[in-house]
Symmetry: C2
Subunit: 227 residues, 2 copies
């Protein structure tokens, strides 16, 4: 992409390809997960809502892979390095019922959106726009909140179970994120900064994680759950 001067920095270009590969794989695996969870929905209306959420994720996937291709990258290759971490996350957090699936969608989407928004500060404007657009909430939040709260009202024990579920999700997400961070120098270089690019020191990274955790807690609270 000749029109984006930021891409002339090869290390930056590699980092962006890595980042978009990670987000794109996250979107397509979210699609798969939501579509699978849709089968567990108690009503056709709920199933249609989960299918809609899945289709929105797939739309994001298509935009991200189109941008990767514009950058001269092979989208499939760019996603490859992240398949294992996302697959492991989804395997270890397979939903036992549709409420767990809802919480996963809400908490997972929220966490991903927060993290990629933070990383957006280190991106050129065009890439940042693509990333931000692909993370826009498609009205999922209101739907999930209303369904989870209704379920808790019907049976208070649901709250304890789903609170545990939320903690497990956060734990698995952090485990997999750490694994990716350890393996993908291109991506972590984004956060660490470069010769001409600002970066984060250890204290700043600590504050970033504090913000992610706070937002997670706020989301759990909005569901009526202890974080």
């Amino acid at each position: 992409m000749q029109s984006n001067p930021a891409m002339e920095d090869r290390a930056y270009h590699a980092a962006v390809v890595d980042l978009l590969g990670a987000i794109a794989y996250g979107e397509i695996s979210a699609f798969e997960r939501l579509a699978a969870d849709a089968r567990m929905c108690p009503t056709l209306a709920d199933k249609a809502e989960l299918a809609r959420m899945a289709s929105v994720e797939f739309g994001h996937y298509e935009r991200l892979t189109a941008y990767l291709a514009e950058l001269g990258a092979d989208p499939i290759e760019a996603m490859g390095p992240f398949a294992q971490a996302f697959d492991a996350f989804h395997q270890r957090t397979r939903s036992n019922d549709w409420l767990e699936g809802l919480v996963t969608a809400y908490v997972g989407d929220g966490l991903a959106a927060d993290f990629y928004t933070e990383i957006g500060a280190f991106l050129d404007p065009e890439t940042r726009r693509i990333v931000t657009e692909s993370l826009r909430d498609a009205g999922n939040a209101a739907f999930v909140v209303s369904r989870v709260r209704a379920a808790i009202e019907q049976d208070h024990r649901v709250a304890g179970r789903l609170a545990l579920w939320g903690r497990r999700l956060m734990g698995e997400a952090l485990t997999q994120a750490q694994r990716v961070a350890a393996e993908r120098d291109e991506l972590t270089a984004l956060l660490a900064g470069g010769v001409d690019r600002p970066g984060l020191d250890l204290a700043a990274i600590g504050r970033l994680f504090a913000r992610l955790t706070e937002n997670h807690t706020a989301r759990m609270t909005s569901l009526g759950l202890d974080a």
Copy 2:
């Protein structure tokens, strides 16, 4: 919908609601099926293609349910009577591998498109347009044909197995269609005609089925399979 004079005929209105309910349920169950089959894909590129096909089906579903709402019908209620037949079809033809899934998508979509196009002759122009648009092939055919042919080239035994599969699909589809026809007078009234509407006699219905079978045979041939 006051603007469509055809809808003033209550029997016709009921028939259209039934027809659109059937198509919409077909689309959302095709979405589910494709999304489930995507999990079996050998490569990420193939998985993305099946996910794309699933999202296209969901897009059709959204347009059809929006039109149902315009007609003053509850889309969920309109779909209800058809859930059993479509669910039974998918349950009895659950894919054992992704090639079977591809053949189902191609043969099923083709058959549905043929049938609804035939029925289109009995619809008012606006409804016909909605139905036709929602059945437009989204480039699935070329993808399926190339993948199935490649698989047969690699292992000729695949052809015999998938040919049997195609026959089973056609048999199950006809079984379920017959069940729907027996139960849904509103829908069959469309084909039979009304006071002011042309209809089909038994001989014409026979010719219709002959055309559907011919097209099915042509599709199987394009896959390199005996019908």
